[in-house]
Symmetry: D2
Subunit: 413 residues, 4 copies
């Protein structure tokens, strides 16, 4: 009987997969509510809402999560210089916590015993969603159709889904399917699978959606200045047209705009998924790439070298791993989240950047507040200033040599 198995809140995208899952959950006897998270992807959310209702969702929730995504996830990741395997800026990972958190909030409020999603059984996202679900609601149950034999044996490929959609009257947009799959949010877009599965295939020029090809970007550079306050970007000024933005979402969106038109933020990598499988992904992270470059630069000027070194090992690495592996809602990541601002007290000032055909070029930086004490021109320069006299270096070096004078290489160096 319809809905007899209880309520399930499905993370719904409007695409073929989650539309079929929605219909299938109803068919299986669940009362199914649809949840659509707006994390900045370019979509017509009202069309998606209508489609969910048409397929049979008993309620539909379209949630604007952009502000919390920017303020609670993106900005701390910038503060921490988060990066995975030295290359990937974690765009998909960063959106998952806000999506899952709101899903659990709604599921709890609506009395849903279950939550569901359309992730495959081989990726990272199933882990990210479900660990967040379980951490935030210890009693929630998860329906992951792509891991259920009854589902994946029935739907063995796109034709099976299309047939089911036709059967259930699910409208299917008649665009040619792209030979890759994507995931988009305000921070980035990812491309994977399909023709990209051969890691030696160069992505086709028309795959890249967010950014212009560097070869097609303007011949004239564009210059901006980003102001940080304790590691948080608080102002962007376009030095050419004098645009100024300060509100977090607007600021980040504006950085996306200038980065996109200058071809900034593309990468193509093979990464190690949490489950131990290697996979190839292409990503565009336009505004995030600029912010990361600028933030690291300002840290050079304002962050004590020892604190920076400690942070690089003690926060950047484990925080990035927590994000990638879906353990944002965990004791250790809560600890890291609270530690990040403690490192950013001095990271205040402006960074000047030039954007040009894929490049993000630093053109100068100024510190403000207590962090401005760390760099001292006279001390750095060749004149003797700043309480330092050259003979001190003598003792410094001699003391450092003490233990080295007891060392003999085991082989000839």
């Amino acid at each position: 009987m319809a809905g007899s198995k209880g309520k399930v809140l499905l993370a719904y995208s409007g695409g073929l997969d989650t539309s079929c899952i929605l219909a299938w959950l109803i068919e299986q006897g669940y009362e199914t509510l649809a949840y659509i998270a707006d994390v900045g992807q370019e979509e017509d959310f009202e069309t998606i809402r209508a489609k969910a209702l048409a397929v049979g969702a008993s309620k539909v929730f379209v949630e604007d999560l952009k502000k919390e995504f920017v303020e609670e996830l993106i900005f701390p990741a910038i503060q921490a210089n988060a990066i995975y395997e030295s290359v990937y800026l974690l765009g998909t990972s960063l959106a998952r916590p806000v999506i899952a958190r709101r899903q659990i909030e709604i599921a709890t409020r609506e009395g849903c015993k279950y939550v569901s999603h359309g992730c495959t059984g081989k990726g990272n996202d199933q882990v990210r969603f479900e660990l967040a679900y379980y951490a935030l609601n210890h009693d929630i149950e998860v329906i992951a159709p792509w891991r259920l034999p009854v589902f994946f044996n029935r739907f063995q490929g796109r034709p099976d889904l299309l047939a089911f959609a036709a059967d259930k009257g699910i409208p299917v947009v008649q665009t040619a399917a792209k030979p890759w799959s994507t995931d988009e949010n305000l921070f980035h877009i990812s491309y994977e699978a399909g023709i990209l599965e051969d890691p030696n295939v160069t992505p086709p020029k028309d795959m890249w959606k967010l950014t212009v090809d560097p070869e097609d970007a303007p011949n004239k550079p564009e210059r901006i200045t980003i102001t940080f306050d304790k590691g948080i970007p608080v102002k962007v000024v376009n030095n050419d047209d004098k645009t100024v933005v300060t509100e977090p979402v607007a600021l980040f969106t504006y950085l996306n705009t200038v980065a996109r038109r200058n071809g900034v933020g593309r990468i193509d990598i093979v990464e190690s998924r949490f489950i131990g499988v290697k996979s190839r992904g292409c990503y565009e992270t336009p505004g995030g790439t600029i912010l990361r470059t600028a933030h690291k630069d300002l840290e050079g000027l304002t962050l004590d070298g020892q604190l920076r070194a400690l942070r690089d090992q003690s926060i950047t690495i484990p925080y990035s791993r927590c994000l990638y592996n879906g353990q944002y809602f965990s004791p250790e990541c809560e600890f890291l989240n609270k530690s990040i601002p403690l490192t950013q007290v001095n990271v205040t000032g402006d960074v000047k950047l030039k954007l040009y055909k894929g490049n993000t070029i630093i053109e100068g930086r100024v510190a403000r507040g207590p962090g401005s004490k760390l760099y001292n021109i006279r001390e750095s320069s060749m004149d003797e200033q700043g309480g330092y006299n050259p003979e001190d270096a003598d003792g410094f070096i001699k003391v450092h040599s003490i233990r080295l004078k007891k060392w003999t290489p085991t082989e000839q160096f």
Copy 2:
């Protein structure tokens, strides 16, 4: 009396500073031998040799260290992805060990009680040279004139040096002094001091020596393929003109050539010197930038994710710190040097790159040998293959959730 104080081997560059030091050492009563290290900087070494003799050096040694520089320092640094403060590729640091090692070898062979150099008392290089000296010869004594009051009080600025040079008959090239200082080797060139001491000053366009300005680089990209064997680059092919290079120095020099003409490898940073002073440096590392990008990419395909994570924390960070801080010849760096190859067993294959106006863009990669087993197209793809079935992920996630279900955030997330 001339030479009565014993023999000193001076690291000699041919410039004003070390020429005055050479004359001064002789004046102080040392028999002074000059040592000129060829680590790939663009110089006329025979002219420098002649100048040293003219100033009064009792012997002059011009040593070609390029091969050991490339094979023993640059390539291991690439294997280890060495980087300082997430930005600086350690170009100056990398040359110091080979320079100091040969200086000690010659000093020992020639019976010199002393070695000398022209480094200032505020920088990293004095530390790098002297710790290497002491580690390799426990009895050597160092004369660092710029830290001796008798020297630095006498020579308080360029005019004093010029006057002394005139007095001693030291020829001075009548080029206008640049408003910054540089250090060059096969791997990179650095610019610092002078007008660069204000970290908000954009470096002038004509400062950059090695690379063309990205804005002036060709409009047509250039494509190369780099082959690595256990993390060591062994072949570069230019896919446009079919140039092939394999010998280490030639290979690295060729990468410099293609990178330079495509504007690859500029950075501008403020860094934390070992002695605790912040300083601003601009660097060009053309070939090194390409190699680093390519090597990291191939590791994505061929290096186990857990081993990579361990290496990033356990080798990359401390190895980079050892290099920067001048502790290459030390027990811990000897250990790290021996550990690096253990991580590179599988890092064999080809990486395709496109160079374009400052960008180094990955266009594909292929693994060879045992490392080719790590990426499995069928396993990564949505089909069920590779001994993996989607239900396994269920248990994986459930077990990972066990501890998370015992956690309650201390504040509302």
Copy 3:
């Protein structure tokens, strides 16, 4: 039909559980071979062999693994100062690799498609065994009865097993079951479960099997000297009765003997299992406790401080985690295994110890070989020697203060 499902090699202990598993596997149609690993536990292996045959094993293998256990696992763990959560010496973890490796060797040789074990579904050992199996034979299949519903639903408690044993004619030793379970090998014994599950219950005096209660140990201390060669123990001398042992297994067994009679090596902890569950365990590691104490002490004298600090972070922690989590046969642990000896080049010398009622007290140490250069009496003492003069410390401190003089606490310290 008997054996129709193919061959399985069962890790067999002779106890009730694995005897029932043996009979059950036969009942299910497997030809079942029994494998008994001698890792130093106190057992009558011939009786176990006979029992396996009586229950129906088609072949039985009793394998003496003590030598490889000591040389390949215990000694490297001592060299690396391996420890889990700062307390647990990893006794169970250390035996698993040698047991699993031989099991795979025999299974492969005997043409077994399957291996099996009697581990429960909640512990670490299932992970340790199976990850080793899969790593060493990528095609092996594992039968883990305690995770199969058909098995664990049938055998829900000891009475079910006893009834099955009676039915199958499996002899059961009529000793009263202890209210805890144990796992023993040459390195240690563990106690867990039963009455120990309440972490506030003090283990009963008669639980501890290997060591005498410190309160009952001799009133007179016993003194030994351990000689290490590159971090490996190569000789133990009893300074009271002049016993000398050098062969690895004999040496380790002798250390067990003296530690046991002096009450050395008991711990009682709550630990974090790999699967995320906390569990309480009590352990006796008599000889291992002495070796660890002695080895750390000799490192104090012979291991460079910076290398030691690096090793503590880069090897000790990840190596211990690999061992605990069952990832000994993995790319990262292979790397660590090869790195360990690189740190031990200088760790050669003697350590004098006094054993007394649970205490392992260092009474002195001597270095031999190159490591003897690191400690220099005159340099450490107040006299001015060793190329060091007190004024050097001045510069050392002043340079270290440079960055501190740019720091202002964010709050009043």
Copy 4:
């Protein structure tokens, strides 16, 4: 002229060295104020005060720092499980920050341009004091007589000091000088130098001052229970005589008392000083040893395993290094100090201990508050409970095996 060089505040102990330094500073023309820090060492502070005045101090300050020592240094060190080179509990290091801080406070208030101390030029303490001085008062100047040639050349040994003392009328206590030197505070006492400089010499029985020899300790164990609240010890109960203490200094002093009479807390090590020299030290840390053991044990029960592992690498190691190397007042240590409590939210409960002839034996533990959720008897036990079913482990192991099945050992394991 007396006092013409300005004011200096001397850290004064009342011993021969600092008494001579006091007289010497006056002789040199400084107005010298004496500062005596009471960090719990067993001294007659009024006698020391009188002596300082008698020698010529213009003012004397006796400061009771015990409360801040316990609350701000000892307790955080316990929370962080601080330890140096796996053995040393940092007793001397921990006292230095509170001593130096008060010295700077007084010096600033009294208008002293200088501070002075009696540390030698080879040890850690000169670094710890002076880096703290410079960090807390960027303009302070330090007079370190034992690094001044004019001083150390004049006073080349004890006879010179005694002659000077006689000359200046400084009373010298006529006890035989011990053949080692000590430093004592509430947390510990250290012994070094003299006969201890031979690392193979067993310390004489009568050296140890704070603790009874384990061989002479009572034959009957003593039992206590320590209660922690968020990692801070808040109550100690003696289970035999029902003594209860809760005030921080009293609590720590009481732990010292029971530990001392049971022979707890002796170590004998060779350590790596910050300046690169190895030195041998013997230490007694009675109460601290008990607290460390108890705190680690309670963390086993209440601290999430992943958070613990992160803390062990990210806080315990760098925090211990900061303390040892005298960088407590630094950007990175301020960060660490603020991070420590973030890890201790759940570390609340009781630990039962038995003290017996040098042993600190855990007899049980109970968690209270949110940390009590981490250990779940039913889940740890063999029954199926806690949302866990044994089949989940199957997927967990299979997924973990994915990457291992792509690995082939480079040599035969």
